[in-house]
């Protein structure tokens, strides 16, 4: 597609339920990022995929969070047993590669509300 596509754009879920957020990066981009942004806060790095390398999961806040990237393209971020503090915007981004300062392109985010 022309840009990074994320779905759903909005999700309201009950505490304790699992959620899956999807990211479809720009075609041909080898690097894919997930960030989280709470209301009025900066971007918190979660996880990063670069080509076929093992993902950098150093930003995942707990073992309830996981992500995968199938076939080097679409990525899914899964949050198990959601908690109210998980409420935030989850932003996905992609770039051609991440090693030379290429621009990263963000999607519009998935707004998650845990009630």
């Amino acid at each position: 597609g022309a840009g990074v596509s994320q779905s759903p754009s909005n999700k309201v879920t009950e505490k304790g339920k699992d959620v899956e957020l999807r990211c479809d990066p720009i075609s041909g981009h080898t690097a894919l990022y997930w960030y989280r942004q709470s209301l009025g806060q900066g971007l918190e790095f979660l996880i990063y995929f670069q080509g076929n390398s093992a993902p950098d999961k150093s930003g995942l806040p707990s073992d309830r969070f996981s992500a995968e990237r199938t076939g080097g393209s679409v990525s899914t971020l899964t949050i198990q047993r959601t908690q109210q503090e998980d409420s935030a915007v989850y932003l996905c981004a992609s770039s051609q590669d991440s090693l030379s300062g290429n621009t990263i392109y963000f999607g519009e985010g998935s707004w998650l509300t845990v009630v």
Binding site: Q41, G42, F45, Q50, G101, E108, G109
Partner: protein, 111 residues
């Protein structure tokens, strides 16, 4: 990883004036630094990249400087317009290719 500091207070500025934002970092000097703009409810949008061997970069009414001695980048919006009102984020490589963002500074341009 880096500690990145941006002024958390909103910058209120009159139309036509120059807005200057600061981004300070505390650890190793990065190979490059980027600036992004974020509007409410939207994802950040790339504006400018400046590399460590560049002192200054310009794009239309935007100017970025990079001082590796001071560990600081300045972002200027000249002849500011109400449409420039947004939050501006600086970003640096955080190691192994990932990009680390500052918390951003909100700019409000009043007519």
């Amino acid at each position: 990883s880096q500690k990145i500091e941006q002024n958390s207070e909103a910058l209120n500025i009159q139309e036509g004036k120059t807005a200057t934002l600061t981004c300070n970092y505390t650890n190793y000097s990065p190979a490059y630094l980027q600036w992004y703009r974020q509007d409410p409810g939207r994802g950040p949008v790339f504006l400018l990249l400046i590399r460590e061997n560049e002192k200054e970069k310009r794009k239309e009414r935007l100017k970025v400087t990079f001082d590796t001695t001071l560990k600081q980048s300045l972002f200027h919006i000249t002849a500011s317009q109400p449409a420039d009102s947004a939050t501006y984020l600086c970003a640096l490589p955080g190691g192994w290719g990932k990009l680390q963002f500052g918390a951003g500074t909100q700019v409000v341009v009043t007519p």
